[in-house]
């Protein structure tokens, strides 16, 4: 089906099912139970899962397949966001034009930056992409203020022309929509003491994420994907086989930049605001973390990594000392204070500490990311049985992702 073989079709169907059922699956705990805070079925969080999933899938097409480690992918995310907000301001509150423009503009950006940066490989490539992203970030903050609105960030205002929309007489800011269906609109369903929220914005992002995933799957299985893996494996042999490596890497770079632009456009479509900090190198670092954590070069890994990090970020930042005291109230007083004190260092404000530690632990002990971890556990269970066929989730990446050299 759809140009996929049987295993891949099954795989895609599972992914589609999981994505569409996310509002239910992420709400496993009853509303008034103590565990309700671990639920993740809120529209804005689910939207971020889908959006950062797209971002990471795109990043993986470059890094996972070719081994070129870009440290400037946030620039495309930021460019996408700015483009989309401008469309929302000038044209219409319908999100489609903004998203299309976001992809086109970020694609053009990627073409220029990639054309220059790909003349070098290894760490030089990483530094070049970083330099371009930092330049964009600095310019967005300073001289490009007319386009980016500097530190405040680009926002909607009542005086925006929005030439395709009917005049806004309500006196309040309009909301983003898709042909009239507001992104913020939700349908709530109460069932089994749980509230399931089906949000328009989430499903819009989810459908795009599924398409993005499907395209990535096709690329993985295509001759083009094979060439990208050849770039990572041995560029010398590739050249002596009559293949030019650079057009392949440039195409991968542009595709991956457009994925980032799409993610940026979606961020702006869900919350019509674009700030320069979205382009900062820490944001570029974040997508690297997501991809590695999940497993670079695997199909599902980046999505898992993105979801994992966004989920932990959300949950960990919510846990404060009060909550912790509630959890550890069964401990004797002195011990309770100690345990709470320690736990508090890693939660709430301390979330970044946890992130840093997690990052180190993954790179040290699990260079292949969560996917490899999952496969190792899977192997433990399957030991003694027949050789298990490839489950289609990965392309057997080398144990350690590496920089192309």
């Amino acid at each position: 089906m759809l140009g996929l073989n049987k295993t891949d079709t099954k795989f895609l169907l599972i992914v589609i099912f999981l994505t569409l059922a996310t509002p239910i699956l992420l709400q496993p705990f009853a509303e008034n139970s103590g565990l309700a805070q671990f639920n993740a079925g809120y529209p804005d969080l689910m939207q971020r899962f889908a959006i950062y999933g797209i971002f990471a899938i795109g990043f993986n097409l470059l890094f996972g397949l070719t081994g070129y480690l870009s440290f400037g992918h946030a620039a495309f995310l930021g460019v996408g966001s700015y483009s989309a907000v401008w469309m929302l301001k000038l044209l219409s509150m319908n999100v489609l034009p903004g998203i299309l423009l976001a992809m086109v503009v970020s694609g053009l950006f990627a073409l220029v930056i990639g054309f220059i940066s790909l003349r070098r490989s290894g760490i030089y490539f990483s530094i070049l992409t970083l330099a371009f992203a930092q330049m964009s970030f600095n310019l967005a903050y300073s001289v490009l203020t007319p386009l980016t609105n500097g530190e405040t960030g680009l926002q909607l205002s009542l005086t925006d022309p929005r030439i395709l929309d009917a005049a806004n007489t309500s006196g309040s800011l309009p909301v983003t929509n898709l042909f009239g269906a507001a992104m913020s609109e939700s349908y709530k369903l109460e069932f089994l003491n749980r509230v399931f929220t089906f949000n328009v914005g989430y499903y819009f992002c989810a459908i795009l994420a599924i398409i993005a995933f499907y395209i990535s799957l096709r690329i993985f299985r295509s001759p083009f994907g094979l060439m990208l893996r050849a770039v990572k494996s041995n560029q010398q042999r590739m050249n002596y086989t009559g293949l030019a490596a650079r057009p392949y890497t440039l195409a991968a770079f542009v595709i991956s930049g457009m994925y980032a632009g799409l993610a940026g456009g979606l961020l702006a479509s869900m919350d019509p605001l674009a700030g320069a900090e979205r382009m900062q190198w820490t944001a570029s670092g974040e997508v690297v973390i997501m991809t590695i954590l999940g497993g670079a070069g695997t199909l599902m890994g980046p999505v898992l990594g993105a979801g994992f990090i966004k989920y932990l970020e959300n949950i960990f930042s919510k846990i404060n000392e009060h909550v912790l005291h509630g959890w550890f109230s069964w401990l004797p007083d002195g011990l309770q204070d100690l345990v709470v004190w320690i736990a508090a260092r890693f939660t709430g404000e301390g979330w970044h500490l946890t992130l840093g530690l997690m990052f180190m632990l993954v790179v040290i002990f699990l260079p292949g990311g969560l996917m490899e971890g999952g496969q190792r556990i899977g192997k433990l269970f399957r030991r003694g049985r027949e050789d298990v066929p490839d489950d289609g989730t990965g392309n057997r990446p080398k144990p350690a992702p590496h920089v192309a050299e």
Partner: protein, 344 residues
Amino acid sequence: MMDAILLQILNGLDKGSAYALIALGLTLIFGTLGVVNFAHGALFMIGAFCAVTLQRILSLSFDVIDPTQTDFLGNPKKIHTTYLESWLGPDIGNAILDWSVPLAIIFAIPVMILIGFAMERGLIRHFYKRPHADQILVTFGLAIVLQEIVKYFYGANPIPTPAPSAFRGSFDFGAIFGFDPNVIIYPYWRMVYFGFAAVIIAAVFAFLRFTTFGMVVRAGMADRETVGLLGIDIDKRFTLMFGLAAAVAGIAGVMYTPINSPNYHMGMDFLVLSFVVVVVGGMGSLPGAVAAGFLLGILESFASMNEIKSIIPGIDQIIIYLIAIVILLTRPRGLMGRKGVMEE
């Protein structure tokens, strides 16, 4: 015009000094150990907080109730007295406190060497044979961790750490050299920082050139395996090297505190630029790192002149990156890079 140029060069020197010192350490580690250390900026930051810590220790105080004075409520007044003052008398006590930043160097060197040893033995050592991407990522994680720990103990706000009062003012640099007075005003401490950086850089180079240890290390930078074949325990020396690089970054941070009040993310801010500096100078070249550090510091300050900004708006924001891009494209190995480093 001459004076304007001189002023910009001077302004670029202190930032350039910091870039050069950090880039020097990065290059030492990269050249000897082959490790791309993204936590090096964090070492700079920890050094700065060594100065803050010493300042806090020195100003530990107790309260004495002075019955002869009363506060505005009529109660006997409490007087803060530092232990230092009560032990050594007000003159010496206050002088020591006043000089806490330079004194912090003595405090920071052993601390930084220990941290360097611990890092190398505990973490970096296991990454020698791993791909550069893994090294970048694990040290990036470490940098976040160190940063968060400092943030917990010292808070998120910058902590003012003044220079000794003798160096607090500025002097009319231009007047000394026959320019119009009041045009080239330069703070004393920046001059001190530049001099300090020059001494440290010279010391590191002398150390590498004239000591046997340094010669082995330089040989190791040129060809690791051969040195290993000579039966020299290069690993132990590399540990020492890491400690040395950490100490250089640390004291660079200590001395920088009066110029910019330290905050927990200063390391990251400097790291990105220092990496660009290393690449511009040429991966693995110590003179390249130092030259590029000063060059970029000075160019950055030129680019922030109003005359230049009015011609090319925003140039001050991007000049360093722009230069890095141009250099990388025209001279793939950087200004002074050696053949065969990080390429294939």
